[in-house]
């Protein structure tokens, strides 16, 4: 392999989009209305499209005759490097939008930096993703404001979702070995530097939504190193079923 660090760095970014895309995909046909159903599925497809570009690139540099499908579908749970936030379940629509927004703000900040990567391929993928992710953030942010500033029931449910998801936000800014190595080479983004801007944006939106900013000081982490929550196994069972049951199948 040309660069172990680069390979792991790409997976670290791509796995977030894959797992969040899968989570949103679970809602296809189950959205609260036809319009929100299509919107959620669109976002899912955007994310999975981005994932494909990353995995195709990772497969190329792996030097092991791998394909994008091998990387997406045939790793064990410990091999997935996504943050815990994106694997959290679709408990109710407040959670779906809360999880989306808490990730979108980070995702956009990341891509806005990654577009200046010294690695031409990563820079191109990031540049293409910025418009998509800007829309994701606008969509999820609008819903948080609607629900937060809606009826007493919607306010309570939105607050519940934000409170429950908040402990997964700090992991976004942890630096893995691959992150550090790639940031030093000017290929990767130093995500720890995005933290301040992230919390500032999120807190502003929560205030606009008349929601309270959680005061919790406990934060969960582990996904970036392959240590996932119990939800991940079920998600992967769904995601991997076809490739494991019918190896090498194609659509």
């Amino acid at each position: 392999m040309k660069s172990e660090h680069l390979y792991n760095y790409i997976l670290g970014i791509a796995d977030n989009s894959l797992i969040l895309g899968q989570r949103l995909g679970e809602l296809c046909g189950h959205g609260p209305s036809l319009e929100t159903d299509i919107a959620g599925t669109n976002i899912s497809l955007d994310l999975i499209g981005q994932t494909r570009s990353y995995y195709q690139y990772a497969a190329k540099i792996s030097g092991e005759n791998k394909t994008e499908d091998d990387i997406a579908f045939l790793r064990l749970e410990r091999g997935y490097k996504n943050v815990l936030l994106v694997e959290q379940p679709n408990t109710h629509f407040g959670y779906v939008m809360g999880r989306q927004y808490l990730f979108d703000v980070f995702h956009l900040l990341l891509l806005q930096e990654l577009q200046f990567s010294k690695d031409q391929t990563l820079a191109a993928i990031a540049k293409k993703g910025i418009k998509e992710v800007s829309y994701h953030k606008r969509f999820s942010g609008d819903w948080i404001k609607r629900l937060g500033d809606g009826t007493p029931e919607s306010t309570a449910k939105m607050q519940e979702a934000i409170d429950d998801l908040w402990p997964y936000t700090q992991e976004l800014f942890d630096m893995t070995d691959a992150d550090t190595a790639m940031a030093q080479e000017g290929i990767g983004v130093d995500v720890s530097k995005l933290k301040e801007s992230y919390y500032k944006q999120v807190k502003t939106l929560l205030t606009q939504a008349t929601l309270e900013v959680p005061q919790s000081t406990y934060f969960s982490r582990g996904g970036k190193n392959g240590v996932h929550s119990e939800h991940m196994g079920y998600l992967l069972a769904d995601l991997q079923y076809m490739q494991r049951t019918y190896p090498n199948m194609e659509w």
Binding site: P32, L34, E35, I38, A39, F139, D142
Partner: protein, 94 residues
């Protein structure tokens, strides 16, 4: 949920220079949501460059019961179509 949301008529301009055309209708809580929903429902396959949304209740429509007096008198007045002019051969694409 849908029952509480008003209906909106969606008009999309497919290309610059063309007029907005009626694409369909959808439910949304307000005009901002209607625009976002229209973007996702009607323009996700690159169908448009501009969207108008209009609350369906703001449209005044003709009553089908009046179709007789409104439209039928025009049916036997073929002379209102410009089909009786002799065009010179030199004019091709008319």
């Amino acid at each position: 949920m849908d029952n509480n949301w008003p209906l909106w008529e969606i008009f999309v301009r497919s290309k610059n220079g063309l007029e907005h055309r009626h694409f369909g209708s959808l439910h949304a809580a307000d005009e901002d949501m209607a625009l976002e929903n229209a973007r996702d429902v009607y323009t996700r396959r690159n169908e448009g460059v501009s969207i108008w949304v209009v609350k369906s209740s703001d449209i005044t429509a003709s009553n089908p019961e009046n179709n007789g007096e409104l439209f039928e008198p025009a049916q036997d007045k073929v002379y209102r179509h410009p089909t009786f002019y002799k065009l010179p051969d030199e004019i091709k694409h008319m």
